[in-house]
């Protein structure tokens, strides 16, 4: 399985940067918006009046939607080779850069401080920023999520870590009623710039309660944004974008993707939260996917290419709102859609996406949309059973073959 995943990474590197050039934007506006008047005590005990480190604004911001291979013709990336790291280190890098940049950013979660994070995403941060900024909480998801939201109402930018996304079900009331709705019910008075992140998804025999996919439960909460990262490049970019966003963002990571190694640029980059990523352009069929299923799809794509098909693979990344522009352009080109997701079949992201595409692009479809999702069962412990709860590459190949008849 691990070998398959790394092979998948090689396949993802082939892409075009044509779309991404259109979406250059600067973050200078957000720098000036964040001028606060509070004095913040840093971990070294010195009070700092004023917040912005204006030195950052002189750095060139690269806003490619996808990482480019060094030998590809993209002119947008400056020709530094970048550095190699694992996905959890990329998350940490993004988090650390944002914490350096803005003293209002703080981390709240279980075992994020002294322990360094159960998946090492926050390792070393408590030593650098102190115990108040990287806060170890007791096991009380409902109330520490509520606390983060209350702190966000005053202008802090907390990053809440759920040790496993499934635990955040305990905080559902706070996320749904307070996080999502306070901006609206207060008539715009309060902003909730909170980031809620954590690993979810089916792992390696972790059992039913630790293999939850919460994107389906959260997707109808109005007022929040949801993104799912899948590579080290987009993990760092999405983490930074989520922290800078004024809206509450839920960043879905995956337990099995933390050790993906990738080369990412040295210079600072922030990705667009609502944009999908074109992983592999093609002509015959559009395959929409996100998170870990991207790698299953790419593995299936290799088989499909050998069989003569030309699938277009899009990593939708933004789960709420959907990037209907990129998806729409793809549907208009290929006229066939397969959605491959890890969510449950009933009421999952795939179900909503199917409805959206049908509603908006019905005229362009030559065949009904095929949605491959996980089975509607609690994830069993036994390895063979667990394997068949999620979509496997062989099933993807079979579905494409049937669709493209």
């Amino acid at each position: 399985m691990a070998a398959a995943v790394t092979q998948g990474i090689g396949a993802t590197a082939a892409l075009s940067s044509a779309n991404s050039n259109k979406f250059q934007f600067t973050t200078r506006r957000s720098l000036s918006e964040r001028k606060g008047s509070s004095i913040v005590i840093r971990s070294d005990g010195n009070p700092r009046a004023g917040l912005n480190q204006h030195s950052n604004s002189t750095r060139q911001l690269v806003t490619n939607a996808v990482s480019t291979k060094p030998e590809s013709a993209a002119a947008s990336t400056v020709s530094k080779p970048g550095h190699e790291l694992l996905l959890f280190e990329a998350l940490r890098e993004g988090l650390e850069e944002e914490m350096d940049r803005d003293p209002h950013v703080c981390v709240i979660g279980e075992d994020v401080g002294h322990y360094g994070g159960s998946y090492k995403v926050t390792k070393g941060l408590a030593d650098k920023y102190g115990d108040l900024r990287v806060l170890d909480t007791p096991i009380a998801e409902n109330s520490f999520t509520g606390m983060a939201i209350g702190a966000a109402m005053t202008g802090l930018r907390p990053v809440v870590e759920g040790m496993n996304m499934g635990f955040l079900l305990l905080a559902f009331n706070q996320i749904s009623n307070n996080c999502g709705m306070l901006h609206y019910t207060s008539g715009g008075q309060f902003k909730i710039p909170v980031v809620i992140r954590g690993p979810g998804g089916v792992g390696r025999q972790l059992g039913a309660e630790h293999s939850q996919r919460l994107e389906s439960y959260f997707q109808s909460i109005p007022g929040i944004q949801m993104v799912a990262c899948s590579t080290a490049y987009n993990a760092k970019g999405l983490m930074k974008a989520a922290i800078r966003s004024e809206n509450p963002v839920i960043l879905f990571e995956h337990v099995l993707l933390y050790n993906l190694k990738e080369r990412i640029p040295d210079e600072e980059y922030v990705l667009n939260l609502e944009e999908a990523e074109m992983v592999r352009p093609g002509e015959h069929v559009t395959i929409l996917t996100y998170s870990r299923m991207r790698y299953h799809v790419m593995q299936a794509a290799k088989t499909l290419v050998n069989k003569g098909y030309d699938p277009e693979v899009i990593d939708i990344r933004s789960l709420k709102p959907f990037d209907l522009y990129t998806i729409g352009n793809s549907v208009k080109k290929t006229h066939r859609v397969i959605i491959v997701e890890e969510c449950m079949r009933t009421g999952g992201i795939g179900a909503s996406l199917t409805a959206s595409i049908n509603e908006n692009f019905h005229d362009y479809l030559d065949a009904p949309i095929v949605c491959l999702s996980s089975q509607d069962v609690p994830t069993p412990y036994a390895a063979s059973l667990e394997e068949w709860t999620v979509v496997q590459p062989a099933q993807i190949v079979a579905a494409v073959e049937q669709l493209c008849q």
Binding site: F23, F25, R29, S30, S38, I39, V40, I41, P47, L132, R133, L135, T137, P138, A140, N142, S143, F144, G146, M147, I149, G150, A151, A152, M153, T154, G155, L156, N173, Q174, N177, N178, H183, Y184, T185, S186, G187, G188, Q189, F190, K191, P222, G223, Q225, A241, R244, S245, E246, N247, N272, L273, E274, P321, D323, L324, Y325, G328, S356, E359, N360
Partner: protein
């Protein structure tokens, strides 16, 4: 007696003019008056403050006026609800005004208050206008939340009023978050997180209290104990109805919530305490005359005698009225005039609020997201397909 005073004032017009001018001086004067609270405070793991409270004539008169205003506003809201101009849920605060007014007297607008859904009077105390209040209740554009919040979602960010929350108990972790932010920015302000006796049994309250105590957050948890959680009396819901003791390791203070000066003293004491020592629980022993909300008659779980008994013996506005009269700061007539004036003010605000238009239909989709990194909330027709970038 009233006739006598009238005749004397007629005869002594020149003198009465002089008298009234001296009285005017006293109502704005700041010469201290000492008042005793009705009951001594009871402390849990803490030495309670003294019963003697310093106040001034100006403060006494402002207490009377503010509480009369709040009382009048809630009764007007009652009639508006029965006239079907206010819909949904409407939770009225009359009887509990002393808590709102006493708390405001002890703190600044930089301190934060967060409460549950019985928030109309706290909003007024924090500086909200009657127009904003009634417009919001009637769902009009001029409301404090642009008509999109309703009775349970009043907010006023500039004066540190964080609402206005419908889910019982969920505001307490939010309040501890406000206190966390205050500690983070070291600005020497405190947060009052208010909840009721019904919410006191919520788990998230104890979780939040644990964290507040662990990190010494400047959070004051105020339990407005009106003895009924909707229809359930406190002795039927809580094994231990001494809510000020329920913090266990966190100190607590039991306060007579119908005495505005007791509330003021307790809040002042609490503010000084938490800035040094971490959280404290204040239990305000208070009472609501109306039912839980307008859909609850309020008499199926308590007797009318009980309600009228509290109204006769412990009414907060009456207590201030008696204090004013006994310190000779105003006559009966003047107090009645203030009440008439307040009534007129409320009626004018209601008339103005009725004129205010309903929110524009486009407001349905505003404020769902903050415009920032190019988020566009899709309308029902989903015509917008492309995310808008700044």
């Amino acid at each position: 007696m009233a006739q006598l005073t009238r005749r004397t004032t007629d005869l002594l017009k020149p003198f009465s003019a002089a008298l009234s001018s001296t009285r005017l001086l006293t109502t704005t004067s700041t010469t201290p008056i000492t008042v005793e609270t009705s009951l001594p405070f009871t402390g849990h793991r803490i030495d309670p403050p003294s019963r003697t409270v310093e106040t001034t004539p100006q403060e006494l008169m402002s207490f009377f006026r503010d509480m009369a205003l709040m009382r009048r506003m809630e009764i007007a809201a009652d009639s508006l609800y029965k006239a079907k101009l206010i819909r949904g849920f409407c939770h009225l605060y009359d009887g509990q005004e002393a808590v709102a007014v006493g708390m405001e007297a002890a703190i600044t607008k930089k301190d934060c208050i967060i409460t549950a859904y019985r928030d109309h009077c706290i909003f007024i105390g924090r500086g909200g206008t009657l127009l904003q209040c009634f417009s919001e209740l009637m769902g009009r554009k001029d409301g404090c939340s642009k008509g999109k919040g309703g009775s349970m979602h009043f907010y006023k960010k500039e004066s540190g009023f964080y609402g206005g929350h419908g889910i019982v108990g969920a505001q307490v972790p939010l309040g501890c978050g406000l206190a966390f932010a205050q500690k983070y920015s070291k600005d020497e302000n405190v947060t009052f997180a208010m909840y009721g006796d019904g919410a006191a049994n919520q788990g998230q309250l104890f979780e939040a209290l644990n964290m507040a105590a662990l990190w010494d957050l400047p959070a004051i948890l105020v339990c407005e104990n009106n003895h009924y959680g909707m229809g359930t009396a406190e002795w039927r819901a809580a094994k231990s109805p001494s809510y000020y003791k329920r913090g266990d390791y966190v100190p607590g203070l039991k306060v007579d919530g119908m005495d505005a000066f007791a509330v003021k003293q307790a809040c002042k004491f609490a503010k000084e305490h938490v800035l040094k020592n971490g959280p404290i629980i204040l239990e305000m022993d208070t009472y609501r005359y109306h039912g839980h909300s307008m859909s609850d008659p309020g008499s199926t779980y308590r007797t009318r005698d009980e309600i009228s008994g509290v109204r006769q013996e412990r009414d907060p506005v009456e207590r201030i009225r008696k204090l004013v009269l006994s310190h000779d700061l105003a006559t009966e007539k003047e107090l009645k005039d203030i009440e008439k004036e307040v009534r007129k003010e409320v009626d004018e605000a209601i008339a103005q609020a009725k004129e205010s238009p309903m929110p524009d239909p486009s407001e349905l989709f505003t404020n769902v997201y903050v415009k920032g990194y190019g988020v566009e909330a899709f309308g029902a027709d989903r015509k917008e397909l492309k995310a808008v970038l700044p």
